[in-house]
Amino acid sequence: MQFGQIGARVDRYAYTNNLAKTSPATKLLFALSVLVISVASPSPIIPFFVFFINLALLLLYAKIPAHFYWKMLLYPLATALLSCVLIALFFGYGESLMEIATPWFSWTIFKSGVTMAVATFLRVAGGISCLYFLVLTTPITDILILLRRIHVPQILIEMSLLIYRYIFLLLEIASQMNTAQEMRLGNTNWISKIKSTALLAGNLFIRTLEQGERTFTAMSARGYDGEIQILDDLPNPRLWLVIGILFFDVFLILASVLTASGWSLIT
């Protein structure tokens, strides 16, 4: 499964990259503020610029292997490209760029459609690079500790930790059951394959629930009252970094205001 391979490697880099020792609050501040500014910016130049900033930070500074980052980018960017080509071809209004007339139908490609498609593609690229910066440099548990510090409701953090655990539990039990079925020749032909899949799907839910309930009982017996204790020893944010990020944000906002009206792909 694609998730198992890429997900596990992302998790490993999150703990071992060169920025792992930096305070997660700083990284979260950088990723989220730049994400919001670049997605909200009216001109596509800002997300384009942000994409390269994140590329440089991840490859040169955090030392994420380039081929792995490329592999992560490939799928979402390919889907985005395809979608944007379709937007350019079928959407938009106003001034037309090109008209194709055939005996059966006539087809107009609009300037605004193409502009919209280019802007969308660059916005997706910029947004995804911010998301990847956060994921590749910051482990999920650090983010959850931060959420606890800013007093996000306890039940939300508890549910996230439990769901996070159960996703892996579900996958693990599914693969165990699949192995058991294979060993008993459960997947030899088409009919037995369907039968095995139905059995697996039905039992998977109950088996996972029962294992989860046993864990829950065991935790309750050890004094669990809704709060999962995690060691809160995150490094503190450095002042100069936070100020630097704020300056960068102001710069991005100014740049996006200045370029807001001045851009057009096709003149």
Binding site: I163, Y166, G212
Partner: protein, 227 residues
């Protein structure tokens, strides 16, 4: 139906985020009420969340800046009600954005509105009506989950059509997005409905008592056995 990070232009992603917030806050209130009264529901809640995660990760890419997949949130709505389904969907969508780059943080609002609010509300409404009409429960679950899934995609089409207008207006854009989705979504909705019926029957059989205490089903006590 996950709209990818950055795909929605500016007024729209902010708008959907604002729409999402009150519903999620109400859902958090509901979830803390349920878990306070019955701490034993926590594993079931987390499992339903994980189920939503796994089902909605089984995606077929679609050319609309989005993708087609079962949602899983319909079953959550049938068991726990739509508000809790919205919270579970939000948590799952954040995980998917962070772990799989599937969906995004700025488009979180739009995705929660379609998968966590519109779909579950429709599923729950259908389920309540079916219960009132004394339709057999398996058919009720099937109808609720399948309709919840389909309406999720209608909601996504509306969101995309609002953001990407065409010359012929909103309805034309809506029809374009809707057609692309309909090809893959109708079979997927039926498949998800069937899967939900199996899972619901399993749950009633083995965890009937738990479902009874949270009010998902009203079974005579003779039928609820075991834990």
């Amino acid at each position: 139906m996950h709209i990818m990070e950055g795909f929605l232009p500016s007024p729209w992603w902010e708008l959907w985020t604002i729409v999402m917030i009150p519903v999620v806050i109400y859902g958090i209130y509901r979830i803390s009420l349920v878990t306070k009264n019955n701490p034993k529901t926590k594993p079931l809640l987390a499992l339903v969340g994980a189920f939503i995660f796994v089902l909605s990760a089984l995606k077929l890419p679609s050319v609309t800046g989005s993708c087609s997949h079962p949602t899983g949130s319909g079953l959550a709505a049938v068991i726990f009600g739509p508000a809790i389904a919205a919270v579970l969907s939000m948590l799952v969508l954040v995980f998917q954005a962070l772990l799989l780059a599937h969906g995004g943080l700025t488009t979180l609002g739009a995705n929660v509105v379609s998968m966590g609010i519109v779909g579950p509300v429709v599923a729950y409404g259908t389920w309540v009506i079916c219960k009132k009409a004394k339709v057999p429960s398996s058919f009720g679950v099937f109808l609720a989950v399948a309709l919840g899934n389909l309406l999720t995609y209608v909601a996504t089409s509306v969101q995309l059509a609002l953001a990407f207008p065409t010359a012929a207006g909103f309805l034309d854009a809506f029809a374009k997005f809707g057609t692309v989705f309909a090809v893959t979504q109708i079979p997927l909705a039926i498949a998800e409905g069937i899967l939900a019926v199996f899972l619901f029957d399993f749950l009633v059989k083995y965890k009937g008592k738990l479902l009874n205490t949270i009010g998902a089903v009203n079974l005579p006590s003779a039928l609820t056995r075991g834990n």
